[in-house]
Amino acid sequence: MVDASVVDPALVAANAKGMIAIGAGIAVGLAGIGAALGEQAIGAAAVGAMAEDEKFFGKGLLMTVIPESIAIFGLVVALILLFVF
C-alpha cells in the first residue's frame, strides 16, 4: 500500500487531468464511429439515388448528415469533460 500522505498532490492533479483527456478522447472517438456506421448506409443510398436523379442531391446530403448529430453529442461531452471538470 502506498501512503497517501507521501504522494505529491501535483502528480495527482496531473493524473486526473490525463484521465479527463482520455475520457474526452473516447467520447469523441466512439461517437465518431457510431456516426460513421449510421452514415455508411445512408451515404451509399444517397449516392445511388443521385446517380439516377441529380435532384436528390439536397435531400441526400441532408439525410447523410443526420447521424452526424451523434458525433456532435460526443464532442459536447468531450468539451464538458475538458472545461467543466
Partner: protein, 337 residues
C-alpha cells in the same frame, strides 16, 4: 447490419428508377390517344434514346416494339452492372428467365417458319445471352442447328432431347430455370428471395392450371407441366387440384390466399384473360407490398424488375390493340394496373 448496408446503394437507385416509370393514371389517357401520339409521348420519356436510335431503322408499331424491347433489355443489364456481390448474383440468376424466353422464342419461330426479322422483334437480350450471340443463332436455319448452337450454354441439357415436341422442351426449360434458381437462392441463404420466387411459382402454376383445366387436359398431363417448389401450392396440393373438374377446382381454390385476387370475378371464369390479369396484378401488388416490409433487401429490386416488365407489356398491349382497332374495353381488360 452488413446485409442491409450492401443493399442500400442499389435499392435507393432502383427506387429512383421506379419513380420514373409511367404512372398508372397514364394508361387510360393512352387509350384515348392515337398511335403517333403515344409514340411521341414515349419518345419524350425514358424511352427517348431507344426511339431515336431505332427510328432510322424502323417505323410505326415496329419501332415501338423494338424500342420497348431494347429499353427493357438495357434497363435489366444496367441493374446487373450497378449491383454488387449478393444482389448482383441474385439479379443475374433471376434474369436468366429472359434467356429462357429468348430460347423459346427462337425455337418457336424456327418451328413455325417465321422470318429472322419476326423472331428478332420478340427477343429481349436481358439475360446472359447477348444480343450479338442471339443474332448469330437466329441465322441458323434448322431447329437442330439452333439447339446445337446452345451447346456451350447451361440450357443445353434441357434442349438436347428434342424430338419435335415443342411443349416438352419449353417445359424442361421452365423447370430447369426454377430448380436452378431455387438452388442458387438456397445457396445464398436469402430467405426473402426464396419467398418471392415461391410465390411467383404458385402464380405461374395457377395460371397454367386454369389454362389446362379450361382445355380439359388429363391429370397426368397437367402434373407433368406444373413447376414444383411453390409457396402455398405444394406438390400434393397440385396433384389434388389437377385431378378436380373445373367447377370443383375453382371451389378448392378458395382455401388459398390467391383466391382474394380472383374472388370478385368468380362468377365469370369463362374468360382466362381476366384471371391472368388479376393474378399478374396480385403478383405486382404482392411484390410492392413485401418490398416495403423489407426495404433494404433484394425485394425492391425484384419489384422494380416486375413493374418494368408490366409497364412494357401494357404499352405493347395498348399499341397492338390500337393497331388492330380493338375496342377500348378489351384492351383495358388486358392491362395490368
Amino acid at each position: 447490419m452488413g446485409s442491409t448496408v450492401k443493399y442500400a446503394y442499389i435499392v435507393a437507385r432502383v427506387r429512383a428508377m421506379k419513380g420514373k416509370l409511367i404512372p398508372k393514371e397514364m394508361y387510360p389517357k393512352f387509350l384515348n390517344m392515337e398511335i403517333p401520339e403515344i409514340t411521341r409521348f414515349i419518345g419524350e420519356s425514358e424511352y427517348k434514346n431507344d426511339v431515336e436510335e431505332l427510328g432510322k431503322k424502323y417505323s410505326g408499331t415496329d419501332l415501338f416494339e423494338h424500342a420497348l424491347n431494347q429499353n427493357l433489355a438495357l434497363t435489366y443489364r444496367k441493374l446487373i452492372e450497378v449491383s454488387q456481390n449478393e444482389a448482383n448474383f441474385l439479379i443475374t440468376e433471376y434474369l436468366r428467365s429472359w434467356d429462357i424466353w429468348n430460347i423459346k422464342t427462337i425455337i418457336r419461330g424456327k418451328f413455325s417458319g417465321a422470318k429472322e426479322e419476326e423472331i428478332l422483334e420478340d427477343l429481349v437480350s436481358a439475360g446472359h445471352l447477348g444480343y450479338r450471340d442471339l443474332l448469330e443463332i437466329i441465322k441458323v436455319g434448322t431447329i437442330e442447328g439452333v439447339i446445337a448452337a446452345f451447346e456451350r450454354t447451361p440450357y443445353y441439357p434441357a434442349l438436347v432431347g428434342f424430338k419435335g415436341n415443342l411443349a416438352e422442351i419449353e417445359n424442361n426449360l421452365d423447370r430447369m430455370y426454377y430448380s436452378n434458381i431455387i438452388k442458387a437462392a438456397e445457396d445464398t441463404g436469402n430467405k426473402l428471395f426464396l419467398k418471392f420466387l415461391r410465390t411467383e411459382i404458385d402464380l405461374k402454376n395457377l395460371k397454367m392450371l386454369f389454362r389446362m383445366k379450361r382445355a380439359g387436359m388429363e391429370r397426368d398431363e397437367i402434373n407433368k407441366l406444373l413447376i414444383p417448389g411453390g409457396m402455398e401450392l405444394k406438390a400434393n396440393d397440385l396433384t389434388r387440384l389437377s385431378s378436380l373438374a373445373f367447377p370443383e377446382f375453382v371451389r378448392a381454390l378458395e382455401e388459398y390466399s390467391y383466391w382474394k385476387a380472383i374472388a370478385d370475378i368468380s362468377s365469370e371464369f369463362t374468360s382466362l384473360i381476366n384471371i391472368e390479369t388479376r393474378l399478374d396484378k396480385y403478383g405486382l401488388v404482392y411484390a410492392s407490398r413485401i418490398s416495403y416490409y423489407y426495404p433494404l433487401s433484394v425485394l425492391p429490386i425484384l419489384d422494380y424488375i416486375l413493374s418494368k416488365k408490366i409497364e412494357v407489356d401494357n404499352l405493347r398491349i395498348i399499341v397492338r390493340g390500337k393497331e388492330t382497332a380493338l375496342p377500348e374495353d378489351i384492351i383495358k381488360a388486358h392491362l395490368v394496373m
